[in-house]
């Protein structure tokens, strides 16, 4: 097995007086989709925000592509090759779709071939290219949020609940886009509450509980074991 793209060792993060991450040990393999699952409030979003550097880890180390990035500021982590799609999408609503995408290509002009690919995956972005992003629907904003991460080739994508609150037709669009990304060899760490999407996309899984990873394994193993799902997450995937 090749060296992992990302490793978290004993990562602890506090938010104000709250001790949210209590020693996260996580390995994300190079290539493929790693699902980060767990009940609400167990620390999934905090884990992603700690990896990108929005929250600073109080203890532990974060190694990305062989480099210790624990003390690195957020922009340096992004330039090192980590793309981030936050739970709230982080759209610049007063900017147009085009301006959002121009900003997303931090290292230079937008690559036209890559843009064609993004348009093929998310056609509404082409339709509303010159429109203010704030006028897009919720699903279109989510497309833009993911498209921004896809604007440049990144070694790792951190994506937080991309299907949250979306209609089924849009969810299938999102899943298709993430599958495309995966098929191109990208490494993705994906937080997802929609279990059918998780099952369809995930290769490996890490399940969180109380600020720690309490189970890791193959997606197929978790998907085929209802008792394990009940034990780890308090519900069965089959129910969704």
């Amino acid at each position: 097995m090749s060296d992992p793209i990302l490793t978290l060792s004993g990562v602890q993060t506090d938010i104000a007086q709250y001790h949210i991450l209590q020693g996260v040990d996580l390995t994300v393999p190079r290539g493929g989709v790693t699902m980060l699952l767990g009940r609400n409030g167990v620390g999934k979003t905090t884990t992603l925000r700690t990896i990108i550097g929005h929250w600073q880890a109080r203890a532990g180390t974060i190694t990305f592509d062989g480099q210790d990035i624990t003390a690195m500021p957020t922009p340096a982590r992004a330039r090192a090759g980590i793309g981030f799609v936050p739970e709230d999408m982080g759209i610049f609503s007063d900017l147009t779709v085009e301006e959002n995408m121009i900003l997303a290509a931090a290292s230079g002009p937008l690559d036209s071939a890559r843009l064609d690919w993004i348009f093929s995956v998310f056609p509404p972005l082409k339709t509303f290219w010159r429109a203010a992003a704030g006028n897009l629907s919720g699903g279109q904003k989510q497309m833009l949020s993911i498209a921004r991460a896809m604007a440049e080739d990144r070694a790792l994508y951190l994506i937080d609940e991309p299907t949250k609150g979306l209609a089924p037709a849009i969810i299938s669009t999102m899943a298709g886009a993430l599958r495309d990304l995966k098929n191109q060899g990208a490494s993705i760490l994906l937080v997802e509450q929609n279990f059918s999407v998780a099952k369809a996309l995930g290769d490996t899984v890490a399940v969180m509980e109380d600020g720690r990873i309490n189970w890791t394994g193959q997606m197929a193993e978790l998907a085929n074991d209802a008792a394990l799902q009940e034990r780890l997450m308090g519900l069965s995937m089959e129910a969704h």
């Binding site: 922009p75 900017l95 690919w117 093929s120 897009l136 037709a169």
Partner: protein, 343 residues
């Protein structure tokens, strides 16, 4: 790659009232000008007051544009901004006094060259002062509003006292460059040449700022940073450097405004910037935090209203802008065109 999904993209529905609401602030300046015409009656007086109001508004905009960006992008309440206005005025006027032979010559080219040199010197000095101010005074208090107010007011007092030390305690009277003195008559109205220059200067600056913000990547980063700084950093941009750049640019613009205001008033004092800060803050607040367009419209409204009211009912001139701010905030509590929500 996957095929394009089969659904027709549509915009989220925007109601007619929302569309009108977004455009409403743009109509306020023409409405104010029209109301001024109806209230004043005499076309020549109205034209004189309108040009005077626009000139005053443009100069307030120059001073306020930097502050609204610092306020919106960095969430910093910088009362020290007034000190940059004063320093800019003193540096610029000092340059003009040195270039007395240029400003006294009846040559528009020499006069404008002298003013431009004064403006450049003022902007360089106030930009450098802004850099030092951010590094020494503002940086330790990011995120702490009360401390920001206390420490930047302290910085303002220190800089004002330094002006007394360098230039002396008395006000300095000056005369405008030769070709910018006096007025000309247009449609029966006396229009001061310098006021017209101030209007042109303000318009050029506004257009230039719009071009920078709309057409350049650094402008995009600043606009995006005002809305969501965390996300800008997650895209790989060092917002810290952008912060410093905006602070320096904002301070330099205050210095530019100081030179323009000093020439307008024909007298400069160490406290002139502090006195202007009330109007500058009114403009930033009614314009909406972080909005250059909002500050532009707000500044024109403040300038026009102050001039109209001073003509119609001088006793009310002092409270007219507070009344304007109250009315705007009752209509739009976040200001006319907020880029960031007030916290």
């Amino acid at each position: 790659m996957s095929a394009a999904p089969d659904h027709t993209p549509t915009f989220a529905q925007i109601s007619l009232s929302e569309r009108i609401g977004k455009a409403a602030p743009l109509l306020l300046v023409p409405v104010m000008v029209a109301l001024g015409f109806l209230a004043i009656g005499s076309p020549s007086s109205w034209l004189t007051l309108t040009v005077s109001g626009l000139a005053m508004g443009m100069m307030i905009f120059i001073m306020a544009s930097g502050l609204t960006l610092v306020f919106g992008l960095m969430d910093v309440i910088n009362f020290g901004h007034g000190a940059f206005i004063s320093v800019g005025a003193f540096v610029g006027i000092s340059v003009l006094l040195v270039l007395g032979s240029w400003t006294g010559a009846p040559s528009l080219a020499l006069n404008v060259a002298a003013v431009m040199l004064a403006v450049i010197a003022a902007m360089i000095i106030t930009g450098a002062l802004g850099w030092a101010f951010e590094r020494v005074i503002v940086r330790p208090v990011y995120g702490a509003h009360l401390k920001q107010i206390l420490v930047t007011v302290g910085g303002l007092i220190v800089i004002e006292q330094m002006i007394h030390v360098i230039w002396g305690p008395d006000e300095i009277f000056l005369t405008r460059p030769e070709t910018l003195k006096g007025a000309f008559t247009f449609a029966g109205a006396a229009i001061e040449k310098y006021r017209l220059l101030a209007v042109v200067f303000g318009l050029v600056l506004f257009v230039a700022m719009r071009l920078v913000f709309k057409r350049t990547k650094i402008g995009l980063i600043v606009r995006a940073g005002v809305q969501n700084g965390e996300m800008v950093q997650a895209l790989g941009y060092r917002l810290r450097l952008v912060f410093i750049g905006v602070f320096i640019a904002g301070s330099a613009l205050a210095g530019l405004g100081g030179v323009m205001w000093g020439l307008y008033q024909e007298v400069i004092t160490a406290g002139m910037g502090e006195e202007m800060m009330i109007l500058v803050f009114i403009v930033v607040i009614i314009g909406g935090l972080g909005s250059v367009e909002g500050a532009f419209i707000g500044a024109l409204l403040v300038g026009l209203l102050q001039n109209y009211i001073a003509f119609l009912e001088p006793k009310l001139a002092l409270v007219s802008n507070i009344a304007l701010m109250t009315a705007v905030l009752m209509w739009r509590p976040q200001g006319m065109m907020p880029v960031v929500k007030a916290k």
